[in-house]
Symmetry: D2
Subunit: 369 residues, 4 copies
């Protein structure tokens, strides 16, 4: 599928950055789920550009639910969210229509869509579409929360500056604090350092990348659909669709590839009548299936391609070399804003997997979830 | 889907390590493709355990094609490959049936399949299933080759030992050499170092991880299906299903997250009437769509969980703590053998995407591939 | 899938009869297709209730395209159509909320959605949703038309009154006339008879069923995806989702089951350098694949369940027997209005199949469509 | 999909009539289901040609399960059934390779697969593939049986000869008798009449069609996935893929289209604390969802195209007119043999829908199945 994602909780995405509206349909929801529109708005807020570290573009991002909810609860039919685009300055993009912005989708998309794509503001490739992901994700986060499953992320790095690691002994507290934050780090001093670095890059008409580390707690064991729909496969499929993400790690990731087996293995123990692992290098996943330990995922974000510095490029209509000076309003760093998109996407994937897990329940009397 | 993968070239995987046979169905192939069974056998050979760096288990891995081929050419109907399991020592696994091997799927799978899974040799979770992936991948690699698209990988690292980087000025030559190798590195001295490290780990009854770097050349631009089926999404979905893979990078990956935009961007140029980028930090992909430059992917493999050292674990039937000493035959390192599985999976994903790319051709007279 | 349909042209449907809006997303369209909004409106008009043979409910049915079109042409990204519900009288439904209307979805839906469904006007089960099908179908009919493929239907029967058969010697003319009609028959006298029967049923506070016969001309041969996605499978899947349809025939259908093979077979002939069949009992399809002859499909529609006569029923909340007198505005017959829905659904299915047909083109140089 | 079918119970079909083997993979089964190989053999037997009313071809049809079963129970991974083709007389087909047999797939398939299809015995289009459907169906029928859901069919007609109707007062008894029959009718005298008609057609080197009526009892209410995956949509999709089926009816089908609403409606009643309908014109389905009453489906089968009489046809290689005299071994009637294929397909569809029904259970605590 292309703009459709998910086997038993299916998201259909639509919209262009400068079109009338963006939005999404969610099909496959249970009926009777309470929709908390305040929580949706709170999540949308984490995505908005704010302050000197973000773009000057202001979006109201109000979500209108036009189907699938009746008297506050899901009906079980398609739930459709529409977000009207209200702050469009299209003329910024007229002059550069056929110029391929480096690291942007302009050229590759022209080969895919043959020049009919909506070029304004990146069209369907704009980060604006992530607003619809966040709205869907908000609903999924609440569904997970109703089962005690919690998701939270922190900005692990901006450039070469690194945040602290999670402290499992106070993890609930840390997750709550992160979920109430806009620039979400574990360490406040490091947060200041990071924001100053972003401002410096902006002054240089440049941009900087970063990374997000996500933890999910209280996931039931046994979730995942090998061979091909392992938990890692589904989550990475979702994360890599977000755009700007260039690498994904699970558990200790790359570090694990340098370890010996005796160091990397997570021994099992019975603790308080429950199965746990003594360490968690695997990040809560064995053989593509959850084992009940916290899931750890890291997503790496490349620096925003749109910078104000002069760049070499081409005009792909005339096939000539050109220089490019980008106008419009662009973020020097999107890592802090993409965090809630990552939380949302992971929540969407988990809900789909939890629903898929149930497909074998009917004929297997022994399975209880 | 679970054991079914792909939208327009669909693979169905089946088999348990110690069952009668493993295999795969490929649905959606064009008719009239010549099936080179010698090439399939050559690919299977790269996956086999050989020498002192691998397990003592010998498998013949003969592929029988039982449908979908007539007089040497594909018919366009389901092509089914069957590989009989001929070297099974099941008794190695009897004693440890209910013991959860650390970092293995035993426990998580018991929660998913409730104790009915075939525990012998890892059952459906065994690396044996990758033999079927390699057989399918061989057919896909030939399909790509018929269009001039080439795939090759080298062992980028074993533990902390790193191979040289690709040299784009002699890349075709390097790719050919790798595709004729079993322990595939660019630098022969480093190859020796790596193999000695693996032997050392084996002597210590331990194991070691590594990484594989893959390059794909001559991919047409415009391949990819945003929003959700970006090239990275599809390829990572496939790679993370292989098992033992804990991280995936595209282009400069994690390094890119530490860069500034001015350094990370790939400026476009017209060269010999073709659009190229001066650098290739993005690894041939912009906005989820190929831009014609070589695709670069890196996969990180954790150390083999099955080690002969004594380990702490549990019996998940009786819910008691136990110690575990694994018998059977296990590889101290699988990185060199998993390389052809990675090539195969990437080839399968690319073929599916190339076929999907064509779905809009009929109604759009302007598109030519 | 549930509210999502199609492999390479995917429709996502949403909306409740008395919710804010109904609509659909179309994903997988080629880019560069001209969207004729006048034609969409013309098709919507065929679905509206008019005159004494239909319900008194008036709907404006204006389609707003909020994504996927730029400067009049498709962009190749998701095209979303929204139709606002503007003529809602919800109070008609309050009193009968928990009463199961005979032959309606009230009871079965309550078992599926557990009482959370939107009961007003049939909610998601209302015929209103077919307005979105017609909008999508209009776009698909134009796509087919651009390739010379034509679709048209006539009301084959209302109750026991039957229209004439198609006359293949003047079929183009007949199809054009039908596509410009509201109450679409081949014979005008029979049209009058049918409409009088409908008015009689309305006077008796009753309803009547009918059937629609559809012909598709100039379909290329070779379209269909056996085993499971034969042309008949896909088309019947679409038709039976419409609601109120209780039977579907292809070619001579049931009559063929009573024939001998010598009478039923369609001999092949070369005519003007083209392959044709002398007869067309099979309705243009052999082995699930088109053979180039006109496709013939017949859909049978049950009488509208909502009648004003008093009926026995139950209250499924209190589990007691009740009598029911339906209020609201209901059609005595929907056959003439469902005709354009059937045309639309068949067009959607054909476009999906034509796009799917192309998936094997890339690797098979010999195939030309 | 093409040779892949089902959302949460997925069948992959493979094989050519004269290839090495035919078979199927079933993915998505619950673990722990007992596989009764005797019952599978019993079902396969109903499909075999027997006596003077069938072809002289003898097939052993032994099913080998090569994966997905361990110690007699499903593991929850892909279950693969292989049936070796052991009675092939390929030379019968050499001479007629490029001649398009009337009403067969030869010509249309040549347009789809461009001459690379396996023409021997109809290749992938042969009725032999239905043996794999019956094997999968046997497993599904047992799964349904474990929940008290029963499926049975009778031959409703051969040519113009009609069997009795079901008698709901003794339906269990009737269903058991049918499921133990080969030539399955309700009335033994009519059975004789039918078989004599078939023998007469054979003497005339001709063939005859028929119809099958199926009943399913004890289906839970609430099964079905509107909008697009209504029960009728899924079942008709499966039935129309079988080949030779030209029409499908649900409930009173075509007869309903001639009724008034007051006659066609099924009033609800509470009976013994359960919701029933007084009549069952709708065949157990309202709004695409089951209501708990027996499901009634009728499938109409065209006469076998392969007759020994001389027929006009073409050579589609040379594009010339030809006459055709078919050799080989062909059934004068397949209706009695196709009955178990229809039972199987309906069982497969129901199991997929029952598993899909569960996908919303996890997040909706109130739903109980």
């Amino acid at each position: 599928m292309r703009n459709v994602f998910g086997n038993n909780l299916t998201i259909t995405l639509f919209g262009e950055s400068h079109g009338d509206a963006i939005g999404a349909c969610i099909d496959g929801l249970s009926s009777g789920i309470y929709i908390d529109e305040e929580f949706i708005a709170k999540q949308m807020d984490k995505r908005k550009p704010k302050g000197s570290i973000s773009t000057a573009r202001k979006e109201s991002d109000v979500c209108h639910i036009v189907s699938g909810v009746f008297e506050g609860y899901t009906t079980g039919t398609t739930l459709t969210i529409i977000i009207t685009n209200d702050n469009k300055i299209s003329k910024d993009y007229e002059k550069t229509k056929d110029i391929a912005r480096p690291s942007h989708a302009d050229f590759s998309a022209s080969k895919r869509y043959l020049g009919f794509q909506d070029y304004r503001g990146g069209g369907h490739f704009s980060g604006r579409l992530t607003a619809a992901i966040v709205a869907c994700g908000a609903i999924c986060l609440q569904m997970l929360d109703s089962k005690g499953i919690k998701v939270a992320s922190h900005i692990k790095s901006i450039g070469n500056i690194e945040d602290d690691d999670f402290d499992m002994s106070i993890i609930d507290e840390q997750m709550d604090k992160l979920n109430d934050s806009y620039f979400a780090t574990l360490n406040d001093d490091i947060s200041d350092k990071m924001q100053r670095l972003i401002e410096d890059m902006a002054k240089n008409m440049d941009s900087i990348g970063g990374s997000i580390e996500t933890i999910v707690t209280n996931v039931p064991s046994g979730i995942g659909e090998p061979y091909f729909d392992s938990i890692e496969s589904i989550i990475s499929h979702g994360l890599f669709s977000i755009g700007a993400i260039k690498a994904v790690e699970f558990g200790d990731g790359i570090a694990m590839s340098k370890m010996s087996g005796s160091k990397a293995n997570d021994p099992f123990r019975i603790q308080d009548g429950k199965v746990v692992t003594v360490t968690n290098h695997n990040g809560g996943i064995n053989g593509g299936i959850t084992n009940g330990m916290p899931i750890i995922v890291r997503s790496y974000i490349k620096p925003t391609p749109s910078i104000y510095q002069k760049q070499d490029s081409i005009n792909f209509k005339t096939m000539t070399n050109e220089t490019l000076e980008i106008k419009g309003r662009h973020d020097p760093c999107i890592t802090h804003r993409i965090r809630v998109v990552i939380d949302s996407m992971i929540a969407i994937c988990l809900c789909d997997m939890l629903q898929t897990r149930n497909t074998t329940l009917y004929f297997n009397a022994k399975e209880k979830l």
